[in-house]
Every structure is written in C-alpha cells, then in structure tokens.
C-alpha cells in the first residue's frame, strides 16, 4: 500500500487517464441500469400517476406509531405555494413510513424526509389509509427538491436518473442531461397533465 500524494498539483496524467477510463467504464454500466430498489420513471409518468402535484415548503414534522405499535410514520406539513395538478390550498400533510419515537428508529430504504423550510415540488396521491394525508408517488422519485442558486436560477432534482424517452421496446431509457430548472419541470408537468 502506497502513501498517497498530498499536494494539490498531483493530478498526474497517467493515473488520471486510468481513472477517466474507469469512470467511462462505470458510465457504460450505468447506462444499462435497471433500478435495484426503484425503476426510474419520467416526469410525464409521475405526472400521470399523481393525483396532486404541488410546490410547497415544509413547515413542521412529527412521527408516531401506528395503532398496532408496529410501524412508525412521519408526517410533514407543507405550506402550498402552487398547485400544478389537482386541488389543494393552505396546508397539506404528507405521510411517510419511518421515523423515530421514544428511542426507536425505523429506517426505510428509499425514503427521505424533509426539514422545516425545505422546498419541493411533490407528486402525490391520497394515502391508502384514507386519513386525509398524502403519500409521494414513487418514493423519492416524486419528490423534487428545490435548490436556489445565487444566480437566481432555481434547480430541481429528485435524486434519480432522469428518464426522457422510450426505447423501441417501450421501456423508458435513462438519460441524464443538464440539471433541470424549476421552470423546465413545471413546463413538462403542464404538458403532461394539462
């Protein structure tokens, strides 16, 4: 094992070239992906599956056990800034599996929570429990977090490879392109769910 270089100017051509090759090989694999826990779906597919699409800001969250005391759910209240599909105003509550109560934590792969103040465009449907709450379509895929840049641009990402077109077999191909802006996302949603 060799002690690695410590200077900033150690971007040597030979190892870099090897690494570029390594990354390109990895990319070749990545382009063939199917999901391990999620199948990447397009904005358009998410829009068609969602009953409610809204832009909002998380205001507070809390966690509690279900009635059987077997599962912990986390509830996050969102202040609705704009609806892009369906009807909602004021505040809505989004329910997610997992959370912490009384020293017990349930972690669910593929679920991420929100901190108060975080902004997102959410693709939602009513919870199967019919308790007035909503759930995110496709776990993280229906959760586009907003990132406001100092330039004024607002970017959005759901953390999953984006899907933009269908291949000849009708399956959705993964295509990661330039970062999506909030305006781009809203335009695609409006086209898919007029």
């Amino acid at each position: 094992m060799r002690r690695s270089a410590m200077r900033r100017d150690t971007m040597r051509k030979s190892p870099l070239a090897k690494y570029v090759a390594l990354l390109l090989a990895a990319l070749a694999c990545a382009q063939l992906v199917v999901a391990t826990t999620m199948v990447p779906v397009s904005v358009e597919t998410l829009a068609s599956r969602a009953e409610l699409i809204m832009q909002g800001q998380a205001t507070r969250s809390w966690s509690q056990w279900n009635t059987q005391h077997t599962l912990i759910y986390t509830f996050t209240e969102f202040s609705v800034a704009q609806t892009l599909k369906g009807n909602a105003s004021g505040k809505i509550v989004v329910k997610q599996l997992g959370g912490s109560v009384d020293g017990v934590t349930q972690h669910v792969s593929g679920v991420r929570s929100w901190q108060p103040g975080e902004e997102a465009v959410l693709f939602l449907r009513a919870s199967e429990a019919k308790d007035g709450t909503h759930v995110v379509v496709g776990l993280v895929q229906g959760d586009f977090r907003l990132q406001r840049l100092s330039s004024g641009e607002v970017r959005v990402s759901n953390g999953a490879p984006e899907v933009q077109f269908l291949n000849s077999a009708g399956a959705e191909n993964i295509s990661q392109s330039k970062p999506m802006t909030l305006d781009d996302l809203k335009t695609r949603i409006r086209k898919a769910a007029p």
């Binding site: 002690r3 826990t37 999620m38 599996l97 017990v104 199967e128 999953a160 990661q176």
Partner: protein, 338 residues
C-alpha cells in the same frame, strides 16, 4: 450524463484540498456508509449485535404470479443472504429461521425478520416503480431488544423486514430484462440494508441505488462496508484505512458530504478470486469537519478522488447521513484527484 461534467475543471469553482494518509491498523467499528441514527447527542451506526440473540431471517414462502422462473424464491433469497454471510473479513452469524405466514407488515411481530412477497399494506406496494423496501428498526441503549433483553448500544438493530412489491415482475432465473427484475440482484441490495448498510456512491457496488440487470457478487466497496460494521476477529485479508480532510481551496473551510473514494491504479487483485469480489473503488463521505476515513482498504496503490455528490447518486440518496449530522451536504466544489 452528469458524471461527465465532473471531469471538467470549472475554473470558477474552488478546489477541494485533500490530504490523505494510509494507516495500517484494524478498522474501528463505525465508519464507511452505514445507516446512521441520532440518539440524543450520540450518532450511531445501525448494526446488529449477533451475540445478544440469534439473528434469523424468516421467509413467507407465498408468492404471487409476479414471481416466475425455474428456481424457488426461497432458494434465491438464501443465495443472496449467503453472498453477504460469506464476505471476507466480515463475521455474520446469520441464519435462516422458520418460515412465517405473516402477510402484512403492520402485523409483523418483533421477533420475526420477515421476507415477504405478498405484503400489501404499505403504500409503496401501489407503485410499480418501487421494487422493494427494507424497514430496519433500531433502538437506543437500554431499550427492549424485542427478544427479552435490552439493547447494549445506541443504534442496535433489533428487527428488519424486506418487502418485495407484489406488483413488480420478478424472475428467479438470474438476470432481468425489460420490466422484469432479477430477484437475486434486488434481494442482495435489500439485504445490505437489512444488515445496516446505506447507499454508496460507487457505481459498481451492490449498494449503489441503481444496478445492472444482474449483479450477484459484492464489490470491494460493499465488502469494506460490511467488514467495518461486522469485523472478523482474525481477518481473511489484511486491510488498512485512508484518512484525510477535504477543504475548500482558498477559504480552507471544511467540506461536508464530499464523496471521497480510493481507486486502485493497478490491475492487481488484492482479494484472491476465491472470495468472489468485484474490484471497485472504496468510498466514504466526509464529516462536517471535512475529515474522512476510508476503511477496509486492501494493500494496493491508490489515487484519492473527492467529488460532489451531485449525480448519478445525489445527496437525497444518503439523506439519512446528512440528517444524522445536521447540515446539508455540500456540492459546491469540483472533482479533484490526488
């Protein structure tokens, strides 16, 4: 592809200054990318305590018509568990327990670690884009462990259930295609979560959030993670750690959440082929003070890379890591090699 942009030098952005040192020593029992939980002021890696009670997984053998192929689902799940159990340098006395007839997650008892193909009572099962979820329960020290005792440390996993989506087509034949998913590939990833592993940014790792159509073997990154969580008292192979700090060039401020990985510059295979591991970079994320420790690194020559976690894996894929520490993961820097 977003990785491509990382290969360009963006002059407007500041570089990360990385110092790295290799220290040959046994890895401590926390690091890499475990699932993390915060208990008061204590940040803990979630893991099982195999000495406190026998840890078994319990299969509900019932499957729907969505599971097809020449092999039984149970045999595929067993093979996926064995992939982790046989990982070099890791000690995982995990066995298959009695089958279970439990068919809903909300009624899964505390002493059962359920593998279920027919559980329909969680909202995820209505989304065909979600293949499976793993629900891991961990507790703080002193809480009931669900087996008549109490947890010996914060973050002790006491239960883990794997639910496969009944609305997804699976094959047991070893390779997925189209909308049909390879069961063993999905199961191997989910079992990583079962054991306390979080997602990694290494593309070729089983714990990368997205994977090829068929991937049944662990990568060096997966093995570094699992052997750090559950180290074998006498390792099969010697490994060491790489430590350092990532800072913004100029301001010298530490970078939190930088994806740092050690990539081999040789064609050597430090782990003999008998271990059936795929060679890959080995990674970790920096802590809020910019420090990192890449553990479980086998003897070889490495180049260290620090990159922003901005795709194909993003900060959202390791949200538990950021949430556990508090601040948001930083991506406002460019990739550097050292």
């Amino acid at each position: 592809m977003r990785y491509g942009s990382k290969l360009r030098i963006h002059l407007a952005l500041l570089a990360a200054a990385v110092t790295a040192a290799i220290i040959l020593m046994p890895p401590p029992a926390s690091s890499h990318l475990p699932e993390l939980s915060r208990f008061g002021n204590n940040l803990a890696a979630n893991r099982w305590d195999f000495s406190s009670f026998p840890v078994q997984w319990n299969m509900n053998p019932a499957t729907g018509s969505n599971v097809q192929g020449g092999n039984s689902a149970a045999s595929v799940i067993e093979a996926a568990f064995n992939t982790w159990v046989s990982a070099p340098n890791a000690s995982l006395p995990l066995t298959r327990g009695p089958d279970s007839s439990v068919s809903s997650e909300s009624s899964s008892p505390a002493n059962i670690n359920l593998v279920c193909f027919v559980c329909m009572d969680t909202d995820f099962s209505k989304d065909s884009s979600t293949l499976a979820v793993t629900i891991t329960t961990s507790v703080s020290r002193g809480n009931s462990d669900g087996h008549g005792g109490t947890a010996g440390f914060d973050g002790q996993i006491i239960k883990s259930d794997i639910l496969f989506n009944p609305n997804v087509q699976y094959t047991t034949n070893g390779s997925g295609s189209g909308s049909t998913q390879d069961l063993q590939t999905v199961a191997t990833h989910e079992i990583g979560h079962f054991l306390g592993m979080d997602h990694t940014g290494v593309v070729r790792a089983v714990m990368f959030p997205f994977a090829p159509a068929s991937e049944h073997t662990l990568s060096y990154d997966d093995d570094a993670g699992i052997s750090t969580l559950y180290p074998k008292s006498i390792p099969d192979m010697p490994t060491g750690n790489i430590t350092g700090t990532v800072r913004m060039f100029g301001s010298n401020t530490p970078v939190f959440g930088a994806h740092v990985y050690a990539g081999s510059t040789t064609s050597a295979l430090p782990f003999p082929t008998i271990f059936n591991l795929r060679k890959s970079p080995i990674s970790t994320l920096t802590k809020p003070d910019g420090t990192y420790t890449i553990q479980g690194v086998p003897p070889d020559s490495y180049i260290i890379t620090a990159e922003p976690l901005d795709g194909p894996e993003s900060a959202g894929d390791v949200s538990g890591y950021a949430r556990a520490f508090g601040p948001a993961i930083q991506t406002n820097f460019t990739t550097r090699w050292h």
